[in-house]
Every structure is written in C-alpha cells, then in structure tokens.
C-alpha cells in the first residue's frame, strides 16, 4: 500500500513539475494557450541569435516560450537601442558574428549590406501568411518590388487620429462620423480652433506629432505606396505637395497647436515645456499609436480630463472612406540574415516574435499580466505595445480584451471599430521602398522643404517636379545596386534595362 501511495505521489509530483505544459491532440498547451509547433524543424541542438530594438522584456519572455516549444533550440536575445542599432549590427557583421534574425528600420541599410536572406520558400509555404493584412501581398511589402521576400513585419503600429470628445463637447461640435473623409477632418480642425475661447485659453483644432502630408498621399489614392506617391515603379510628389501645402496652410492659419519648447507654447500655456496633448484644449491629435497606452491611458493623465477616442486616417474620396481603405502605418521589419545556418528555424523564430498566431497569443498573455514590468516599473502593455498584423479572430479578441481593459462598452466599440478599419496598412516609404531613406537623407531633408513651406516662403508644388525626378533616380539606382549583379543579382535583363533607363531619364 505504501509503495502504491509513493508511486502515486511521485506521479503527482511529476505532473506538477510539468505544470501547465501538456501536449494536446493537435498542439502543445502551455498556460492554457494551445501552440502548434512546426513539425519540420531540426531536432539537433542549435542556437539562434535574435537581434532587436523591440521591447526587451517582452522579447525575452517570448524567447523563453519559444525555447519551451522547441527545447533543442537556444535563443540568444540581444537588444540594442535604436540610436546605435545600425552601427552595432554592422560591427557584429564585420566581426563575422552576424545574428540569425535581425530587425531593421530603414531598408536601405539592410539591403545595401545584403543582410537579408530570401525567405520566400518559407513564407509561401506558411499558411499563416495568407491570413495577414492583405496589403502585405498586394502592396509588395517586404519584397521591395521584386519576386522574392526578404522581410516580415515585426512591429505594426496603425496610425491613429485621436479625437478628444470632451473638447468637442466643450465647443458644442458634433463628433465626426466613423467613416469620415479628409475634408471632414479639415473642417473639424477649423471648427475646433477657437482662439478667443470664453475660458481664456485658446482651443486648437490639431496637435501634431506626424505631419498631415505624411498621411495624405495614401489617403488620396489606394494605389500609392509610401508618402510620396510611389505606384510601385515611379514616384509622383505632386500628390504629396497637395497635403504638404494644406498642412502648412493650416499652420499658417493658426489651426495647429504650438509645439513643445516654443515661445508660442509659453504664450499659450505659460509653460515652455508643456505638451498640447495634456492641455485638454486640442480636438484632434496625429500622435503615434503607442501614445494612447503609454500616455493618455495612464493614471497620471486622468487629471487632465481628456476623453480620447481613435479614428482611422480618413480617405480623400467618399467612396474610399466608406470602406476599409489603405492607411499609412508604422511597421518595423525583420528578417533572417544571409549568413544564418538554420534559416528554417530562424524563420519560425522571427514568425513567433513578429506576426505568428502563437507568438501573438503569448504576447497577449504577457501584456495582460501587469505585474510584469519594464526597467522603469511600467507594465509592458504601456511600453510601446504593437498591434497584431494577423487577421486571426482569436488573437484579436484576446488583444482587444487586453487593450480595452477598464473601458466602458462605448469606448471598447470605438476601439474595436478602429482596429477593424486599419487592417489595410501601408508602411512608411523608408521601411519598404529601396532608395527612399537615402533620398530623404541626402536630398529631401537637406533642402528643408517643410520649413520653407511652413513659413510661407515657398509653395510645395514648386518642389514637386524636381523632388519627383530625384526620388525616381534614387529608387532606380538603389534597385540596380541592391538587386543587380553587384547585389542579390535577381533582376531580369528587362528590369535592369528599365531601371537603367529610369536613372538616365531622371538624372538632373
């Protein structure tokens, strides 16, 4: 009897040690989440290095879970701050210690150094990639207008147009329709600007982090990729110039709230360092997606009496606005490095970290646990949390439940509607178009167009023609450099001829 009891106890202990890990009929269950590990992975013990600028604690927890699923794989996570990311990565590459999986922000850096391996084989064979945001395929995101896939979306931040309903109420303005158009937005900005307000502090229509011209190109046309009117082959900055001029006119007209650390801010709030997002006197914000969770949705900001709800970036035409249309989004990409010796396993790792359903279920679990914090003691949910880019409904339900914890039904509906309406993301050009970063770095930003137009010293349209030629030149040259015979060598003769012709046609 004693022996049987001892055996039963041992069995119980063993089961207890195994804890929550149990293999179901169609997957592995850990902490109540059913995972579906890939079957065709190596069983040899290997080590993969994941180099990133994501939220470090989250990535480390994800890596731990990945190692639970694949006990033979050791994941070595290396975090590097964005400001020194490229230099550190290139130093590692030059020392012959290139990580297996890498994140990157500007694609020119990654492509010119041939950091990214072609992962089309794994991507095409993966059924989960068919359930991601459609634009990843339709707009060639991560393929750089080639037939190969080099990058996957790692962090997806949709663009939010945040409206403060309390300001609208104070000004007796009706909240705009969820299917608003660009013209509706401009009207709201103008209507909500009341410089001689009865409470003695001016109201402004818009407080900006991103300029409206960055959003305009994609809002104006469903065929455009990036901010500068890129149609997959050519740029047309004429579209951008319309948005640029419109935004500058709003600034000159006094409809845009003053920026931090300016005399205008001092005059408005008596505080040089104030931020318009904390004044309760701005109707619309073009803030980053994460601003809601790491600023407005924190206890500290409850005192400012704001009622922030998200709206999708409006489309210019009513027809586009009535449905789920393309909107610009911040997407950080990643890929498998060309020197990786285990690309299949590395693909699975980056999928888990980035867009995979299993990875996202784990992320939701991590974000839900507010006892897990970053180094500053902030729960991870409030520390630059991205959005799922998969369309998997289970993931989205878990995400929205976690995201909207503590909100009333009306606000949850707002967020649910917003998330549904931003699943046609188009990334910023510098992350997805070859030559774009270099163009901005060496030409566009160096001539100070924004300042000139904002100050009324020039018209945006005056720059459109030359800027278009330059953009085409940089893009065509980059395509030849990166994908021509000195680079990946995947361009056909016709493509080489086409880009060479573009270089010739657009050289000034």
């Amino acid at each position: 009897m004693k022996k049987i009891l001892a055996m039963l106890l041992t069995l119980c202990l063993l089961l207890g040690c195994c804890g929550s890990l149990a293999e179901g009929t169609d997957g592995v269950v850990i902490n109540g989440i059913t995972y579906h590990p890939a079957a065709d992975m190596t069983t040899e013990p290997i080590t993969l290095t994941y180099f990133h600028f994501d939220q470090d604690e989250t990535v480390q927890l994800l890596a731990d879970r990945f190692m639970e699923l694949y006990p033979n794989i050791t994941v070595n996570v290396q975090y590097e701050n964005v400001s020194t990311y490229n230099s550190t990565l290139l130093t590692l590459v030059s020392a012959g210690t290139c990580p297996d999986c890498i994140m990157f922000s500007d694609c020119d850096f990654a492509l010119s150094n041939m950091l990214l391996a072609d992962i089309s084989e794994y991507w095409d064979a993966d059924p989960e990639t068919k359930n991601l945001a459609d634009t990843l395929e339709t707009a060639g995101v991560g393929t750089y207008m080639t037939n190969a896939r080099y990058a996957v979306p790692v962090k997806f931040f949709p663009t939010g147009m945040y409206v403060d309903l309390n300001v609208l109420e104070a000004l007796n303005i009706e909240a705009p329709s969820r299917n608003w158009t660009w013209a509706d937005m401009i009207k709201l900005i103008k209507d909500a600007t009341v410089l001689d307000s009865p409470d003695g502090m001016a109201y402004y229509g818009c407080g900006y982090y991103n300029r409206l011209d960055s959003y305009y190109g994609i809002a104006a046309s469903q065929d455009i990729i990036g901010e500068f009117g890129f149609d997959g082959t050519d740029f047309d900055l004429g579209v951008w110039a319309v948005g640029e001029q419109e935004f500058s006119d709003l600034k000159l007209g006094g409809y845009i709230a003053p920026s931090t650390e300016t005399q205008a801010m001092e005059d408005w709030t008596d505080d040089w360092e104030a931020w318009c997002g904390a004044t309760g006197h701005v109707a619309l914000f073009t803030e980053a997606f994460w601003t809601f969770q790491n600023t407005w949705n924190t206890d500290e900001y409850k005192q400012y009496n704001l009622d922030i709800v998200p709206y999708v970036v409006p489309a210019v035409s009513e027809e586009d606005a009535s449905g789920v249309h393309h909107t610009i989004a911040t997407i950080d990409f990643g890929g498998v490095s060309t020197s990786c010796e285990h690309p299949r396993e590395a693909y699975e790792l980056i999928k888990f970290m980035a867009f995979g359903v299993d990875g996202w279920k784990t992320r939701c679990e991590i974000y839900n646990d507010e006892t897990i914090t970053n180094k500053s003691g902030l729960p991870l949910k409030h520390d630059v949390m991205p959005c799922p880019i998969t369309k998997d409904q289970d993931v989205w339900n878990a995400y929205i439940d976690m995201f909207c914890k503590g909100m009333d039904e009306a606000h949850v509906d707002c967020w649910r509607e917003y998330f549904a309406s931003c699943m046609q993301p188009i990334p910023f050009g510098w992350t997805s178009i070859a030559g774009y970063w270099n163009y901005c770095d060496e030409y566009f930003n160096s001539i100070g167009i924004h300042d000139l137009v904002d100050l009324g010293k020039a018209k945006a349209a005056d720059y459109a023609e030359e800027a278009t030629l330059k953009a085409n030149l940089y893009h065509a040259q980059a395509m030849l450099d990166y994908f021509g015979e000195d680079g990946y060598d995947i361009l056909t003769e016709e493509e080489v001829a086409k880009y060479e012709q573009m270089v010739e046609d657009n050289s000034i």
Binding site: N86, S87, L90, V93, S94, C98, D106, C107, D108, F109, A110, L111, S112, N113, M114, L115, S337, T338, S339, C340, W437, N438, D441, E442, S446, Q477, A478, D481, Y482, D486
Partner: protein, 344 residues
C-alpha cells in the same frame, strides 16, 4: 717595409679592432636588446593599433566597401571616394569650413582661459589644491555621453549669457560663415571651457619650472607684474602654449560632439551604396589632413624662434668661414703661380 707586410699589418690591426668591437658589441647588443624589450610593447602597439589601421584605412579609402554577413565586398575605385566627397557631398565641405573656423576661434580661447586659471592656481592662495581639483574634474567626467547630455539639456552655455542676443548682434556685422562659429562659441561656452582641464595642468607644471630668481631680478630692476608676465612668464611658457594648442586641437577634433566625426560615422553606416567604410575612410583621411594643417599652423605661429644674438653670431661665423676659404684659395693660387714662376 714591403707592401705585402704593410698590408698584413693593416689586416691584423683591422682584425684586432674587430675583435675588440665584437667584445664591445656583445655588451652593446645586450643593452640594445634590453632597450628593445622595454620599447617592444610600444612598437607592437604602434604597429597593431596605429600603422596597421592607418594603412588599412588608406586602402579602404580607395575602395567601395560593403560589409555583408558573407564577408567584405571590395570594389577598387581609386580616388573615386575622394572626388565624390569633394565634388558631390553636400555636407562635408560646409561642415569642414565650420569646423576650421570654430577650431581657430575656440582653441585660443581655451588656451588663454587655461593660462589665466593656471596663473591664478599658481598663486599662494588658501585652498589652492581644492581649486586645482575643481578645475581638473571636467577632464575626468567630460566623456562623450555626459557632454552629449549637457548639450541636449541646453546646459552648454552660461545661463547668464543671452546667447540669442549675442548671436543676433554678431550676425548683424559678421558674414554668415564667421557669425555661425563665433555665435557657437558663446552658445557652448561651458563645454568649451570644460576642455581646459589638461591645458591648465600643463601650464601649472610650466609655471612651476620657471626660475624664481628671474622674477626677483626683474623686481629689483623695477619691473611690475605686467612686465614680468610679458618678458618672463610668457616667453618661458612658449613651448607649453604650443603643446596646449596641439592638445586642444586634437581634443576638439576627435570628440564625439564634433559634427565631422558624426558625419564620418553616419557615412560608415549609411545605406547608400556608394558610401560605407571606404567613403568614410576617405573622409577621415581628408579630415585628418585638415587637422594636421591646423596643428601645423599653430606650430608655425608658436614654434620658438632662435635667439637674435645667436642668429647674428652664426651669420658672422658663416662669413668668417667664407673669408677663410677665400684666403686659402688665394694662397693656393699664389703657391701655384710661384711654382710655375720657378719652372720658367
């Protein structure tokens, strides 16, 4: 004595000399070896960390380089990087001009400030050691990140100085190319003065080496503080002034806040195909040449010239030697004429 025996004697003497030399050489070799062993770490360091990187960076400058996970990709382009930097790079030459002007302005300011502080710290005042520590502290803590944080927080300037008003005033009468660096001097007054820690130390050591009897003699002759500074202190510190200038130029040119260093780093990691390590190396070489020219300029201005009397003495000596040669030539000619006269 026959020729053969004479030759044998010379050979023997030579052998004997060689024998002696060998014995001396062993000792000398041992000493040389010991010396070499002492300087070997420096030689190895210089080869590995100076000569090799210099040669490598020069060869990099002649190539277009891409660093891929599969190795370096070199493409020889000769002086292509140099011509592109000088003819097409929109940032390098303007930044270089700003750097040259600001260095030429800020280095004298730093050195003069350091000299004044060193002279004060050399006086017999209470708490002298404490003040010396205070002025040397920036050298210990003035590293790149801290300096960067200071600049970011607008703490690079003295708050009592209205830098905007000064910039506006300077801009009204100086051309833009000069107004910008001069205004920059006021805007970064604190950081510039922070660079003076080491020059203060150099000046202090120089001041302590000046013979006090010179001051005593000058005071007996009726000289005041002003005269002794110009006639004794400054001439005695001339070499230290040069050393401080060279040190300051090198420090200002190589610290992280320098825009050209930032530009070179940005080029190293740029995604543009024509940039990268090769382009950055070429840029660094051009920059180094300019830094060398600035150092040379300060050396030219401050190198101690020879004493006026010594110069005069050498000139007289040269003239005397010339005169002696002339006399010898005349004497030889006279002797030749005398012989010819005797034959006839």
């Amino acid at each position: 004595m026959t020729t053969a025996s004479a030759k044998e004697r010379i050979r023997n003497e030579k052998k004997a000399r060689q024998h002696v030399r060998i014995k001396k050489g062993k000792l000398a070799r041992r000493e040389a070896l010991a010396g070499l062993l002492f300087v070997l770490p420096w030689i190895i360091g210089a080869i590995v960390f100076l000569a090799y990187p210099l040669v490598t960076s020069f060869t990099y400058g002649l190539n277009n380089i891409r660093i891929t996970p599969k190795g370096y990709k070199f493409k020889y382009i000769g002086y292509g990087n140099y011509t592109q930097i000088l003819l097409s790079d929109t940032a390098f030459l303007p930044d270089l001009a700003d750097y040259v002007i600001s260095t030429l302005i800020s280095v004298p300011v730093i050195v003069v400030f350091a000299l004044l502080i060193a002279m004060m710290l050399n006086m017999k005042i209470r708490g002298r050691s404490f003040f010396r520590v205070i002025f040397f502290l920036p050298v210990i803590i003035v590293s790149g990140p801290i300096l960067g944080m200071l600049t970011e927080q607008n703490a690079g300037s003295v708050s009592a100085i209205d830098t905007q008003a000064i910039s506006a005033a300077i801009g009204s009468f100086l051309p833009e190319i000069l107004a910008k660096p001069v205004s920059g001097l006021f805007a970064n007054m604190v950081t510039i003065l922070w660079y003076s820690g080491v020059p203060i130390l150099l000046f202090l050591s120089g001041l302590q080496k000046i013979d006090s009897s010179m001051y005593e003699a000058s005071y007996i002759d009726g000289a005041g503080g002003w005269e002794t500074f110009w006639k004794i202190t400054l001439p005695q510190l001339k070499n230290i002034v040069l050393l401080s200038c060279v040190y300051t130029v090198v420090f200002v040119s190589s610290n992280d806040n320098n825009t050209l260093i930032a530009l070179i780093k940005a080029s190293m990691f740029s995604g543009t195909k024509e940039k990268g390590y090769g382009y950055a190396s070429a840029m660094a070489w051009l920059y180094s040449l300019v830094v060398l020219l600035i150092v040379g300029l300060f050396a030219l201005i401050l190198t101690t010239r020879k004493d006026k009397y010594e110069k005069e003495a050498r000139r007289t000596d040269r003239e005397l030697r010339k005169e002696a040669r002339k006399i010898r030539r005349v004497q030889r000619r006279q002797a030749k004429h005398a012989k010819r006269y005797q034959r006839t």
